[in-house]
Symmetry: C2
Subunit: 479 residues, 2 copies
């Protein structure tokens, strides 16, 4: 074995080793059942640390390409699925191996992994605390959920007609006038984005977003080969319209935005900004996706939704109950021009034959009975108490190291440190102390100033402990 990784390659040493092992297997050099040289031998032969070998082998084991037998070393796995697995999602692989996204992606994987563990303090989680979920009321309400044989058969393509009627009425409170035919039910907002990416865009299309963006932490568009272009709203020298004009490619494009209680910043777009955005996009013929899943959680009044200001069918509106009632319900909705909704519904039917009829009937019951709005009213108060609690801690300790805006609702405070200390090292250091943060760089790869704090998940006690540990870790970095 004479191969050594190339220290001048654009690929990391880790990636080169993984690729090299894959090549041995693909070429048939290491057929199924082959026992690999020991980790020590591989490390010596390649001139790398043993931990580098361990990491590479771990990745290949996770991918099912290698398997380990306790006390008996590492083998090439024994199943034909390997042949399939190894070539999956070339675009995705290419994407994650491009250097700028790598730490981003690894951090997200670590967050997903550590969120499952007990005893971890989750300071950034975009999810309601189990305490805030109305579990007992939900349980009791199940008795009153209307069920007919028709309801629990296969669904209409757009979902339960009664639920769409209820949503049509609910939307009017947001200033949106939509017939049930221009509403479709989806299994949460992420599925809406997934259907849009499958059904309305070809690879190479441009998706505009404002930086930082939640879209950088999920990948419905990226993994389908779309071009994501982040725009900088603050840039006075190169204003938004000019940025759009210069970045718009030859292919289709659309604009993704969370104008109300933005994720991750928590900001609310002003009425003027909304009008301007609609105007620019109408002029450029760029449809808009308005992600409005947090609006019910605003502590005060908010400007009207983009959709309610839209007279030309320019806006596709996404709502959801995941942030307000229960993520496990998997109920969201899309409101838009009927032909677009028809198309998305058709794609959904090809994908999963509709969302759970039981979830749909529960959502309908909660809307029709008033339980939903009653619950949101209470939830908003509880979130406000949590927001005040966190802000108090920040006021006490963080004034010398960071700035932030008073939260206007939702889950998040977008904490900005005075110094660019929010890097992967800080993330890992906190992880060792059982504190999980959502660093700004997962929403904007170049941002090392911000942390998305969430007051929605951790308990009051955990919030206090976590914020103290975070403060110490930052203070150490500063000194």
């Amino acid at each position: 074995m004479e191969w050594k990784p190339n220290r001048h390659s654009h690929l990391t040493i880790h990636q080169q080793i993984v690729n090299w092992i894959k090549q041995r297997i693909q070429s048939g050099e290491w057929p199924i059942h082959t026992k690999l040289p020991t980790q020590r031998k591989l490390a010596e032969a390649m001139g790398v640390n043993r931990s580098t070998i361990v990491n590479a082998i771990e990745e290949l084991v996770a991918d099912g390409i290698l398997s380990t037998r306790v006390g008996d070393g590492t083998y090439v796995s024994n199943n034909s699925w390997n042949v399939l697995i190894k070539d999956i999602h070339p675009d995705w692989e290419k994407h994650i191996s491009s250097s700028i996204y790598e730490p981003n992606f690894q951090t997200i994987q670590l967050i997903n992994e550590y969120e499952q563990r007990e005893n971890i303090i989750r300071l950034g989680t975009g999810e309601l605390s189990p305490d805030l979920l109305p579990t007992a009321v939900l349980q009791r309400s199940l008795q009153n959920v209307p069920l007919t044989a028709r309801d629990i058969g296969y669904s209409e393509p757009k979902g339960s007609r009664q639920l769409r009627h209820a949503l049509s009425r609910y939307a009017t409170k947001r200033g949106i006038h939509a017939t049930p035919d221009s509403i479709m039910i989806v299994s949460g907002a992420l599925q809406a984005l997934q259907l849009i990416s499958l059904g309305l865009l070809e690879p190479g299309s441009t998706v505009f977003q404002e930086a930082p963006s939640y879209l950088n932490s999920v990948r419905p568009f990226q993994s389908a080969g779309m071009r994501i272009v982040s725009l900088d709203k603050e840039n006075r020298d190169n204003r938004l319209p000019d940025q759009i004009i210069s970045m718009k490619g030859k292919k289709q494009s659309l604009f993704y935005t969370v104008p109300t209680l933005h994720n991750p910043t928590g900001s609310i777009m002003s009425l003027d900004e909304r009008r301007e955005l609609l105007q620019i996009c109408a002029y450029q013929q760029i449809p808009i996706i308005e992600d409005d899943v947090y609006h019910g959680l605003a502590f005060g009044k908010t400007p009207p939704s983009l959709k309610s200001l839209d007279s030309d069918g320019q806006v596709l509106y996404i709502g959801s109950m995941s942030k307000t009632l229960s993520p496990g319900l998997r109920i969201g909705w899309v409101i838009g021009p009927e032909p677009v909704i028809d198309r998305l519904a058709d794609i959904k039917m090809q994908t999963d034959y509709g969302s759970s009829a039981f979830s749909q009937q529960i959502a309908r019951h909660w809307l029709e009975s008033g339980l939903y709005e009653e619950h949101i009213d209470q939830l908003r108060e509880q979130l406000k108490r949590r927001a005040d609690f966190v802000e108090e801690i920040l006021q006490l300790r963080y004034n010398s190291i960071a700035t932030w805006n008073k939260p206007a609702g939702g889950f998040y405070i977008w904490l900005r440190l005075h110094e660019p200390l929010v890097n992967k090292a800080l993330f890992l250091k906190l992880l060792k102390q059982n504190v999980l943060i959502n660093p700004g760089y997962i929403y904007d790869a170049k941002d090392f100033y911000h942390i998305r704090l969430s007051y929605a998940y951790a308990s009051f006690e955990q919030l206090e402990t976590g914020l103290n540990i975070l403060y110490e870790a930052i203070a150490e970095g500063t000194s």
Copy 2:
């Protein structure tokens, strides 16, 4: 306007007209708000029937490219989504415009459309009749469905751990020994196929199936650009192994099969055939997808599942409650090698963040309490009664025009006419009489002999009326 469709083109007149109108719009010749010439004028100018124009315009209206105002003609639609919609799914479009699939596809669209109507006799529907759904028991059981705050939060990637435990125990009755970690929950079998096509195959992969096949009536693989190869099990001159070897391309391939109560034929693969298939595929390193959604509905004993005979992790097994408990539940599962399951679970999380927690808890409760098996025992008896009823009618009237096998369970009788009369004309003729059939050609484009009869959906009275109307329609065709 001088353009006329070319009668010698490989495209239909309809397709040519649709394309021509699209081109006028794309080129900017007919900008937004343009009023089209009247249908009469267009028909005259192109030298075609007015109904041809009407059909073309209807398609473009359905796609949102044109819109009609009552009493005021047809216009180019007023929204920027057109720009997106027009280029969607080029592979799909190519697929449906290839002549052999067109009638197939149109028939499926008509079936989907007419299934929604009242007063239609559905002789082919692959769905339980509302009478057979345990609606009242389901409603009552909701009170006992266990719910914790953890259950109704975001799901683990593979789905509810308790449901996977329950399924692991349930699978042992099918001879399958699977840990909860090698099981994942999906929103029905179609989503399982969709995830496999997204997550394990690259475009151009080969999916083998036996003709006729359910896969021809849904399109998770076709629309993702996979090559579907139908094999002929009956061909004595060119046996299955030889067919596989000659058809296997350079890219990945897998074998899709419904060995137990096959859809649409209702047949059951013998133990010897199962062993042979496993052997051939193992030798060729072709993984197998075993679709086993009907097995609980067998009237007698069936051979063991392929998965239970599989010692090498060669088989990915799909189960579901859609055919046995409630389609609206949207609960299915996949059992397979753990790395493959991990990969599919990862793709599912990127797609919809998991299936409904409520549906999962209901499924778990029905499995753990024994309600599920109790229900299936009763359902099987009711289906048997329905099968006997339909067979009696066939024995009385159909012996001179058709042959069939006595159903061994499930929903279907695969009726074979003596003459190749099952074409689109027969389908449409029956539709006019409010009888909906599933013609054989939607499962095998070259088959004009078969009809998939389902005794699961229509009422006894409807079955009798429908089969009489069907008989008359066939008899007219024969004479």
